[in-house]
């Protein structure tokens, strides 16, 4: 298999502060509403019978955050949906890139289950995380990765990330079934989250 880059997120470490989002937005000078990176706050649980106090209900709730951008999927649905061929998957590293010069702004790539392609109204085209392709070869970290105060994000070769984070999975709630697009994503699940699909190392 050729090289594939992607993101790793430590959901145990992520506290949902959204500095990644702001750093990305600042770098790309994106307008209001256009966010290449998003932070999902997922909450779950509810009132449950308290085992220690029969007859009483206790709030068994928890929440965690997931920082998400383009997952540079192995089988991206955005690419297939694009009627003008403006989206491509780069041979050498598997990045999924939008060519803004040939995009007609039809927004059909919003079929992405991760909501990665973002319509920039003033440009009239779709825009998306390119994994800070401009930093290639400089040794610098991606804007979101560099900004994370928790060091919860990493970007790099998926094989290396998989080797480094053995317990990471490809998807957790509330993300979609990873079989749909084969995202280049690794998540160390939050202790309360339910993983979806198999462990990334089982494939």
């Amino acid at each position: 298999m050729s090289k594939q880059v992607g993101f790793y997120l430590d959901a145990e470490a992520c506290n949902g502060c959204s500095v990644c989002l702001v750093a990305c937005k600042d770098k790309y000078d994106n307008p209001i509403g256009v966010n290449f990176r998003k932070v999902i706050h997922h909450t779950m649980g509810g009132w449950e019978q308290d085992a220690d106090n029969p007859g009483f209900l206790a709030p068994k709730i928890s929440s965690y955050s997931l920082s998400m951008a383009c997952n540079h999927c192995e089988t991206p649905v955005c690419l297939e949906a694009c009627p003008v061929g403006a989206i491509s998957k780069r041979e050498e590293d598997g990045r999924v890139l939008i060519d803004e010069n040939t995009c007609v702004g039809c927004r059909l790539c919003q079929c992405c289950p991760y909501d990665a392609p973002q319509f920039n109204e003033s440009l009239g085209v779709m825009t998306m995380c390119d994994g800070c392709v401009d930093l290639e070869g400089t040794g610098e970290e991606q804007a979101c990765v560099a900004a994370c105060p928790q060091r919860a994000l990493e970007f790099g070769d998926m094989e290396e990330l998989r080797a480094k984070h053995g317990n990471a999975v490809q998807s957790v709630e509330p993300l979609v079934d990873p079989q749909i697009t084969q995202p280049s994503l690794l998540v160390t699940p939050h202790r309360n989250s339910k993983p979806m699909g198999g462990s990334a190392n089982e494939q």
């Binding site: 649905v77 007609v104 039809c106 919003q110």
Partner: protein, 420 residues
């Protein structure tokens, strides 16, 4: 805004899905309900006659928007529920199973259905059409290497299916009424280019022929009889003879229809509370000054946007330059604009090679352009058509020139051109 109102969107395609999206973008806070007779979330149809024939594509790869989008935007979906009647006086739609729903405003986005040929044998086993996901899976289950597939119609769907089928080893014959491929939408030079490609891939083309009947044995199609007297053996038939707008619901409700639901340039029907968008409509084109019917993804999306604005009381007009595309083999045909009224055709580049383009001019104004595997010129043409740019045909014809040098009048929207 109007938070107590219910807007019902009838249909499960591009127009309904996009209209729901645009209603929220317009700031509508009331109830949005999409009612579709199909069981699936609104999904992408172009793969049905391309990749979907080659390999198994699960429906979960095709939604236009995923379930999360509808949930996030509080858009309700009633799937697998055909609308039976519309009672305009009571402002109520009735569905199967005695369900009725009251609406404040409604969008009809009922799309179209494949044209069935009025010839004997159409109901034989092995005779297919493609419009929805199930049509695709039915056809795919029968496509086997060596099978003889006869496709009736050399339009986009017929030829895209031919390209997919032949590449998997199916023996494909295309029967076409006209003397050339895609005659309704492209210039002869482009028809010839695609004819050569299909012949190179082993597709047999029978042009200027009319199917007379499908002949069967034990209830299954075995051949297609042509009016010209020939008989073509067939294990399978795909009828790809165009679409018929689906407007029965509107006509039954007494809305003005004329081969489609008649709407104005804001997608309003003859009932001020009912709007329509997509393949099912006939609309006046601001740009072309007459009533047209377009069957395209682009038109469905654009009309949905305009209709959503109108439903929210905002004035927006359907005036944009239409565009179309078709994927056959590794060729992407792109068309922008409508060619009606042209007085000159200019071919730029070698019409034997992908990358050439065909320009339709009236006076010197660019009306329409079609090209193969040349997205940058397609984009430029779209901007020029939108800006009523005029070009020098001599410069345009010479592919060694820079395309920008062909413009005579600098279009008013300088910034639009600057992006190339």
């Amino acid at each position: 805004m109007n938070s107590n109102e219910t807007y019902v969107l009838v249909g499960g395609g591009y127009a309904a899905s996009r209209a729901a999206d645009c209603l929220r973008l317009e700031g509508f806070e009331g109830r949005i309900l999409i009612i579709s007779e199909e069981e699936h979330l609104p999904y992408s149809r172009p793969p049905l006659c391309k990749k979907g024939l080659l390999e198994e594509i699960g429906i979960e790869r095709l939604p236009l928007r995923h379930a999360d989008f509808y949930a996030r935007n509080n858009i309700e979906l009633m799937l697998g529920k055909p609308v039976k009647t519309v009672d305009r006086t009571a402002r109520r739609v009735k569905l199967a199973g005695e369900i009725s729903i009251d609406y404040d405003k409604m969008l009809l986005a009922t799309g179209g259905r494949p044209r069935r040929l009025p010839i004997p044998g159409g109901d034989l086993k092995g005779v297919h059409v493609i419009r929805n996901y199930e049509d695709m899976t039915d056809l795919r289950s029968e496509l086997k290497p060596g099978a003889r597939l006869v496709i009736i119609g050399a339009g986009y769907i017929g030829l895209e299916s031919a390209a997919a089928a032949t590449s998997m080893g199916v023996d494909v014959t295309v029967v076409e009424l006209s003397t050339r491929l895609m005659s309704r939408v492209v210039a002869p030079v482009t028809s010839e280019f695609f004819a050569r490609k299909h012949l190179d891939h082993g597709v047999k083309l029978m042009l200027h022929r009319t199917a007379q009947s499908f002949e069967g044995k034990d209830g299954r199609v075995v051949s297609v009889r042509l009016q010209e007297g020939e008989k073509v053996s067939a294990d399978l038939v795909l009828v790809a003879a165009g679409n018929v707008p689906e407007f029965r619901l509107a006509a039954d409700a007494g809305l003005e229809c004329e081969g489609g639901i008649v709407v104005d340039d804001r997608c309003r029907t003859s009932d001020p509370l009912i709007f329509a968008a997509g393949d099912c409509t006939r609309h006046p084109s601001v740009r072309y000054g007459r009533r047209i019917q377009l069957e395209s993804v682009d038109n469905a999306l654009e009309q949905a946007r305009v209709a959503a604005a109108a439903m929210c009381g905002r004035r927006d007009r359907h005036a944009h330059v239409p565009w179309f595309w078709s994927d056959q083999y590794d060729l992407k045909l792109q068309v922008v604009g409508l060619s009606d009224g042209f007085d000159e055709i200019v071919v730029r580049g070698d019409p034997d090679q992908p990358g050439f383009s065909v320009w339709y001019l009236r006076g010197q104004e660019v009306l329409c352009m079609e090209t193969v595997n040349n997205p940058l010129e397609f984009m430029q043409a779209g901007r020029w058509i939108g800006a009523h740019a005029k070009v020098d045909a001599r410069i345009l014809r010479d592919a060694t020139t820079h395309l920008d040098d062909a413009v005579i009048n600098k279009p008013r929207h300088e910034s639009v051109l600057a992006r190339v």
